[in-house]
């Protein structure tokens, strides 16, 4: 293999790799603005200038291909001086907006100003003025004065979103990014430009001025917008989710996520409709109850029905663990009917990230489906039987979208309906018992994505049962160093529990406890019964998931 020497280290590389790629693979950081591993090379920021032997001028590491025997210096005096000069050039016309800029705290330019800049300005003249607060599209706001013309957003729209809506207009230091006349930047992936913008030029209209980044805690998780399961970070302040940002995962979403996932999949967590504590129906109205009463009532009612009068509807929105314990409960009651609701919208996917299945865990729900002899798994058949009065008790796990009205009509005929829900919706109106389910942001668990990759979610929002400090949730600076009188310590905590926990408690009330104390124990129980899950635990799934299915699962792999 050919070898290159960077800062005295001899490194092997593959033919066709650039210097900056070899360096970053080997942990040598070369500062850069315009270079991005997933985008084409534009070589315009000049920040990655390095000294290469046999090349008379300084060369940019992002467009210089590594050759055998090349000797690169990234820390020599001339390189340091060149970087200082580039930083000075970028900063002379960059407004000192940091105190009011959303990017502050996660700004490449700000970080580099500390690391690579000389720390004072020699510019006495007035800065260049350009348009500020330009709405480029419905979700992205642009500030041309902050912009350093790295062209990452333009290249992203062109190359990744395959929708070249952005361009530079004007020339020289009057240049700025714009959309074409009478158009707006409304691509379904537009907000990724906010992430890759190395400065605060592009900001999210959804998140603008909500929070400083260091005031939020950030928790690795998975987006629930569709079955792709894009890896995300959940950013929380005052115990409220402020935003989601994509988390790098080369096998799933690379560096991206769609705007729908980013803006529409977390707001239900703190919506007014949130179920806070168990509810029981009294005189045709749901009344707040307590856990003991709700569990006792459900256990008592469920026992009354025969197995062929009981139907279980699992959920593609609930985790693998929730679905597994749900299946165990169905088995415990020997229920004859078990299915789950599918959210596939044909034609709604694209060839980038968005899939047609709008739930995060359909594959997981399918894989852990309860299937004993004589059990029907057909959802339409189940609802037909509910309508005919043959099925009298229905137990429904978390459903994020409303049911079709024919299903709701059928449910009105059932004698007993128990529902796990995060939010009140039309379905909960038909419930006799509503258990408050923890949302994806309030529990541990795992989702199986469309490609068969099992990925973990972690709690980011504290609930009554889940304490931020004691249960090891991510903490922001304020969480760590604030006092209990601080605003951010007083965010609303909902009285909700993960479904597996509610089901375990119910099983105990039914006299046959599962003995699960953590969701990992549910998964370990599953791995011992289902060969598809091998001997997995949370440690093995890790931060970026693990591929467990290479093929369509077979019948034997189900319980």
């Amino acid at each position: 293999m050919p070898k290159i020497t960077i800062d005295g280290k001899e490194l092997e590389f593959k033919e066709g790799q650039t210097v900056i790629e070899v360096a970053s693979e080997n942990g040598i950081y070369i500062p850069h603005f315009c270079w991005h591993p997933e985008l084409s090379i534009s070589g315009n920021c000049r920040m990655c200038l390095t000294e290469i032997e046999k090349i008379p001028k300084l060369a940019i590491a992002c467009s210089t291909y590594a050759t055998d025997g090349m000797v690169v210096k990234t820390q020599s005096e001339s390189v340091v001086k060149a970087r200082e000069a580039v930083m000075e050039f970028i900063l002379i016309n960059h407004p000192l907006d940091c105190p009011i800029c959303d990017e502050a705290g996660e700004c490449k330019l700000q970080d580099y100003a500390f690391r690579y800049s000389r720390g004072e300005s020699r510019m006495l003249e007035e800065k260049q003025h350009k348009p500020k607060r330009v709405p480029l599209g419905p979700r992205v706001m642009y500030d041309a004065e902050r912009c350093i013309m790295c062209s990452r957003c333009i290249r992203f729209a062109d190359e990744v979103a395959k929708n070249p809506q952005l361009t530079f207009i004007q020339r020289g230091d009057r240049t700025f990014v714009s959309v074409f006349p009478d158009e707006e930047f409304d691509d379904p992936y537009s907000m990724n430009t906010v992430d890759i913008c190395p400065v605060g030029a592009l900001t999210s209209r959804d998140f603008r001025f909500k929070s400083r980044v260091w005031e939020m805690s950030n928790t690795p998780s998975v987006c629930i917008g569709c079955s792709r399961g894009c890896n995300v970070n959940v950013w929380v302040r005052d115990n409220v989710i402020q935003r989601l940002t994509p988390r790098e995962n080369p096998d799933v979403n690379k560096y991206w996520m769609c705007d729908f996932g980013r803006t529409k999949t977390f707001k239900f967590v703190n919506a007014e409709t949130r179920v806070d504590g168990p509810f029981i129906k009294e005189n045709n109205e749901l009344v707040k109850s307590n856990w003991e009463e709700a569990l006792n009532l459900t256990a008592k009612r469920l026992k009354k029905f025969k197995p062929d009068e009981t139907a279980f509807v699992a959920s593609a929105f609930a985790t693998v663990e929730d679905n597994h314990s749900f299946a165990l409960l169905a088995k415990l009651l020997n229920a004859k009917y078990y299915s789950y609701f599918s959210y596939v919208i044909p034609g709604s996917g694209d060839d980038i990230l968005i899939t047609e299945d709008k739930a995060p865990n359909a594959l997981g729900a399918e894989l852990v489906k309860f299937k004993a002899n004589g059990v029907s798994n057909d959802l339409d058949e189940i609802f037909e039987k509910i309508k005919l009065g043959e099925i009298k008790a229905v137990y429904i796990l978390e459903q994020a979208h409303d049911f079709d009205s024919y299903m709701l009509d059928a449910l009105a005929k059932a004698e007993f309906v128990a529902v796990h829900a995060t939010n009140f919706n039309r379905l909960t109106e038909f419930a006799d018992v509503v258990f408050p389910a923890s949302s994806f942001a309030e529990k541990h668990g795992s989702f199986l994505n469309v490609d068969g990759i099992l990925q973990r979610i972690k709690p980011a929002v504290a609930t009554v049962e889940l304490d931020r400090a004691l249960d090891g949730l991510a903490q922001s600076r304020w969480d760590k160093f604030g006092t209990k009188f601080d605003r951010w310590a007083q965010g609303k905590k909902y009285d909700a529990e993960p479904s597996w926990k509610i089901i375990s408690a119910l099983a105990a009330k039914l006299g046959k406890p599962f003995n699960f104390s953590t969701s990992e124990e549910v998964l370990i129980d599953l791995t011992s019964k289902n060969s598809a899950f091998r001997n997995l635990d949370y440690n093995e799934i890790g931060g970026t998931g693990i591929k467990i299915i290479e093929r369509k699962f077979s019948e034997e792999e189900k319980i």
Partner: protein, 446 residues
């Protein structure tokens, strides 16, 4: 001496006159040769590019792939955007057919069947003249598919004129290609070089108009003849566009290696009023200026000028007499490069504007000698760190004008100045400039 590009033949721009004077004989000869033979002759002639960089033309052609797998393109650069150069215009006007003949030979040498002549849009009249010449040659069968019969060959090529839209940067070869492709005039990051990845990703060669116009005579008279003219390492003649404080400004075709003083005093008629020369920019506005008291013995060819601390550039000689205010000159030049910087890469985009702002401040009487040092430093920070050569073009005039005429620039700056800063966010109302001798005004608190 014999003139290669602009011979003194009346009505040479008429096709019949051109043919009567031996026109298209070289093309006939070249089209019977193998492309590699043509390249070889041009290589041996040591013809160098007339667009500024002075690269060897034959060598450039030889970079094109020998085996043609994709279309090849020839771009002829007539953007002529460098201030102080106006030579290509003369060719369009006086000798367009020799250019066209050169294009045929060059296209054959690199096996390009499509040729674009990129001309600045402001040259509207000259575009019309050249288009008329092209049309005439199409009619006579010198271009297009009819070439096959006319020259008895398998090769033919089509020539199109592409009008520039007014950007200096589109004279840079890769920005020129982007412009032809209909894209923003941004220079490309090299490598890949045009010979591998040029127009629409295909092998492309870009030559200056004057360079191409030399080619027919080299083929007709042989490389030995051409190599014997002028300076040995940079042979041939050059079109020197002399402007500024001379009695007879204009374009003079002279052999390379002619003395600069000879051009100014003998051909251009000397300085009006017999004034002394303060400064000469020898190759278009981006080249380092020379001091008027150090002109003796400077020869006008690439190597001699490099030794003298400048460069041949496009051969646009700008003469400034002793009464010229060099600060005003430099402000004008910096304004040009600030206005024309494409804005792609950081040092040039930000640096050109900054330099102009500093110079304008000095012009308004608000500069100190620290500012001169700052200007030189800023220019040095731009130089050599940009995507294309415009960074150097913008930096050199500032850097060399100030270092070579420091004594004069010291006259334009003051010992102490009070600088009101308009950008109040940027600092307090008045900045404390980190020079001891600057005083804050008493009326305001910092």
């Amino acid at each position: 001496m014999e003139k290669i590009i602009l011979p003194d033949i009346p009505d040479l721009n008429k096709l019949d006159v051109y043919i009567a004077n031996g026109g298209f004989q070289a093309a006939k000869k070249a089209l019977q040769m193998e492309p590699s033979e043509v390249i070889d002759i041009v290589k041996k002639s040591s013809l160098r590019g007339r667009g500024g960089a002075g690269f060897f033309t034959g060598l450039k052609w030889s970079f094109m792939p020998k085996v043609k797998t994709k279309p090849h393109y020839l771009c002829v650069n007539g953007d002529e955007s460098e201030p102080g150069s106006f030579k290509d215009r003369q060719i369009f006007e006086k000798n367009p057919h020799q250019l066209i003949e050169g294009i045929i030979i060059a296209a054959h040498a690199i096996q390009a069947q499509t040729v674009y002549i990129y001309i600045r849009g402001e040259y509207y009249r000259w575009i019309q003249m050249l288009q008329a010449a092209l049309d005439e040659n199409y009619e006579r069968g010198h271009l297009g598919e009819k070439m096959k019969q006319t020259f008895n060959t398998d090769f033919y090529c089509d020539v199109y004129i592409h009008r520039g839209a007014g950007a200096y940067i589109c004279g840079e070869e890769s920005a020129l290609m982007n412009s032809i492709e209909g894209k923003r005039g941004y220079p490309r990051v090299k490598p890949p070089f045009p010979a591998q990845n040029g127009l629409w990703g295909n092998p492309t060669t870009i030559n200056n108009v004057e360079t191409i116009t030399n080619v027919p005579k080299i083929i007709a008279n042989g490389w030995e003849w051409f190599a014997s003219i002028g300076a040995p390492k940079h042979p041939g003649t050059l079109l020197f566009g002399v402007s500024g404080h001379v009695n007879k400004p204009g374009v003079y075709e002279l052999p390379t290696g002619t003395l600069l003083t000879d051009i100014i005093y003998n051909y251009a008629g000397g300085v009006p009023g017999n004034k002394k020369i303060k400064c000469v920019i020898p190759g278009g506005s981006s080249m380092p200026p020379l001091r008027g008291d150090q002109l003796e013995g400077i020869k006008m060819d690439a190597d001699s000028l490099r030794e003298a601390g400048s460069a041949i550039g496009t051969g646009g000689i700008m003469v400034m007499d002793e009464d010229t205010n060099l600060l005003d000159v430099l402000v004008r030049i910096s304004h040009f490069y600030h206005h024309e910087s494409c804005g792609q890469c950081t040092p040039c985009r930000e640096g050109t504007g900054w330099m102009e702002k500093i110079l304008r401040r000095i012009q308004s009487g608000q500069g100190t000698s620290k500012d001169l040092d700052l200007l030189v430093d800023v220019a040095s920070n731009i130089e050599g760190r940009t995507v294309c050569a415009l960074g150097d073009a913008a930096a050199w005039p500032v850097k060399f004008m100030i270092t070579r005429f420091r004594d004069e620039f010291e006259k334009y700056v003051k010992k102490e100045v009070v600088i009101p800063v308009k950008n109040k966010i940027h600092s307090m109302k008045y900045t404390t400039y980190s020079v001891e001798n600057i005083k804050l005004p008493e009326s305001t608190k910092p």
